[in-house]
Symmetry: C2
């Protein structure tokens, strides 16, 4: 363990965060976190809140009025996307091809929904036609839910065809973009996504703790037609929107410092530009994946469905996943992730997200892995 | 509006935060927020997580193993305290003498519980005997819930007798200590409180965003005997404790930076010492309350039930509450709160919490109010 030192003895070690998130954070974001507090109804703070929503609209590529950060992590955003919509006995279609699809299923079950789970092996995407056919069997489904970037595998799920198909249906298109937003294209309006949520600690490079989310007018219409109240008071967007809107009605105390950070973080994203940011992630991810294959690593996901920002690589025969991760951390200060669920102990999950997505980090990792597998 | 300046143009104005929270934050806590990130499974971070729980046990005055910070604001802690315990049709007794009691009632209703609301006027506490009698009428109640420090009024609710009475009953004693923890005595073990939650941004002087919470063995037993799953996956403590415990099973990504802040903030609290901190709040609160009465302000709450850290003062006849608050902010940089619910427009809520609880702040406010009411 590294030497600890706050004022009171703790000092975090320098880390290159190349796991599935959190990613490294820009010094400007850390500086924003350290600014003095304003009250949650202070006019200056409300200006920051509004500007953060405006930034998030640009990042999500949407005009949706109700675009904000849930006061919790990406999993709170997931819960918000379902709890606001699903009532007991509502039907919902959920694509499950990894741990986060499974989590969506679990959240929906707990809300009393009738879940139609569509399964695919970990490491594979769903053929959009299969999702469309699933909807044809359950046309009354309140929502069809998929994970855009499965953080447990590194699979990219194509969304465009499904969005176009659902556009004129009553069913809402709900998308988990926790690991995709800011790293690969997420086109909320162009792809007719009705609810899309993300996390701050992935390709946006802001510390974990908030979940950017956006709701379409179609989603709000469905929420307004509910027959029962939203079971979570904390996540109820019909209340939260009264604080975000001109009424400024107090709901809960906004997480001021984290919102400073998200504001500054989204400014940095927009200064780079969405297209440039996607291109940076794409080029570097491909280079890393090529480098891993050259070293003899087998990758979990077929090339067309690989996420550039998160790569799953099988650990070579005879090498321990836990040992590689431990050595990367102690020798190089590099954190990578291990496998979850059935992939536990079998894969490394390597993130190149946001601030972490730099050629020097990819080079150092490949060099480190080369040394370790030769050991 | 003050001039704005981050790196990107925003700079928050200097504020003396004398509203009902957030309070001012110690520079050491701001510095902790600005430290580089560690991963949520990094051994160094897990050490901080454990030490934060240990600090919270000392602050809550409890030995409860399950003591941690909910990844959301105080309202998420409130929801966590009920959603983990209440199943549909469970009976629950809730004391409602202000906005936060009302919110507890709302949360419990949404969970499908059968709520027995006990009401008292805003500004009054419940006679403990009345709470005990209410329980005798509904002895099967799963929980009896009260607000220790009602943030909408500044009332302190005596807890000790009720805790002693419920100790050997099946009913859980659930206490909202959002505004009390760190400002006045909260004795979780000595008062036999089963679930107690707070907020970071009040007397602990950490930015808003986390909710310290603690569960007794009796509470955990009740949770383990549930017949239905906890309706919120995000707040389910049976899952969260597997990450907090030796298993370290991933649940959701911990809000790293805010946990740094809470660690440092609780260190500061413990360096001062709980008794010294309570004494500081008590002496300064009484001085402020005396000063307000000398200026002719009528206080909402009878002396024995006043919180030293939060004072509700009626606005003098012929003076506008909104005007006073606006002038305090623009002339002195002081934020105070207005009334909520039926007290909207009628009272000022003045906080002297944590770092804000300094004689110079009380003096400046009294001086400012004197000037304004003479205007």
């Amino acid at each position: 363990m590294l030497s600890l030192k706050f004022d009171t003895g703790f000092w975090p070690g320098e880390r290159i965060l190349m796991g599935p998130g959190p990613s490294n954070v820009h010094p400007r974001v850390l500086q924003a976190l350290s600014l003095p507090l304003l009250g949650h109804l202070d006019p200056d703070f409300l200006a920051i809140l509004d500007r953060t929503s405006e930034n998030l609209r640009q990042v999500f590529r949407t005009q949706n009025e109700l675009t904000f950060a849930v006061s919790g992590t990406g999993s709170a955003g997931m819960e918000s996307s379902l709890v606001n919509v699903l009532e007991p006995d509502d039907e919902v279609i959920i694509g499950v091809n990894g741990v986060f699809g499974q989590r969506l299923l679990e959240v929906a079950m707990r809300l009393g929904a009738r879940v139609h789970a569509l399964e695919a092996p970990m490491g594979e995407a769903f053929d959009p036609e299969r999702l469309i056919q699933a909807h044809k069997k359950v046309p009354k489904a309140k929502a069809l839910v998929v994970v855009h970037a499965e953080t447990s595998t590194g699979v990219r799920q194509p969304l465009e065809e499904v969005g176009a198909y659902l556009k004129d249906k009553e069913t809402l298109f709900v998308v988990d973009a926790v690991t995709s937003l800011g790293g690969i294209p997420v086109e909320v309006d162009a792809w007719s996504i009705d609810i899309c949520y993300s996390g701050t600690q992935k390709c946006l490079s802001v510390p974990p703790g908030l979940s950017p989310i956006t709701f379409s007018a179609k989603a709000l219409g469905a929420i307004e037609r509910r027959k029962t109240p939203v079971s979570s008071w904390y996540l109820d967007v019909t209340l939260i929107r009264r604080y975000l809107g001109t009424e400024r009605l107090y709901h809960h105390t906004a997480p001021i410092s984290m919102l400073y950070a998200l504001y500054e973080g989204t400014q940095i994203v927009l200064e780079e530009g969405m297209e440039a940011r996607w291109q940076r992630h794409r080029a570097l991810g491909e280079a890393l994946q090529d480098g891993l294959e050259t070293l003899g690593f087998k990758l979990l996901v077929d090339k067309p469905f690989r996420l550039p920002q998160l790569t799953s690589a099988f650990v070579p025969e005879g090498t321990s996943e836990a040992w590689i991760r431990k050595e990367l951390l102690s020798r190089y200060g590099i954190e990578v992730g291990g496998g979850l669920g059935e992939l536990k102990g079998r894969i490394l999950r390597i993130g190149l997200m946001g601030e972490t997505a730099k050629p020097s980090n990819a080079t150092l990792l490949l060099d480190g892995l080369k040394t370790l597998i030769a050991d």
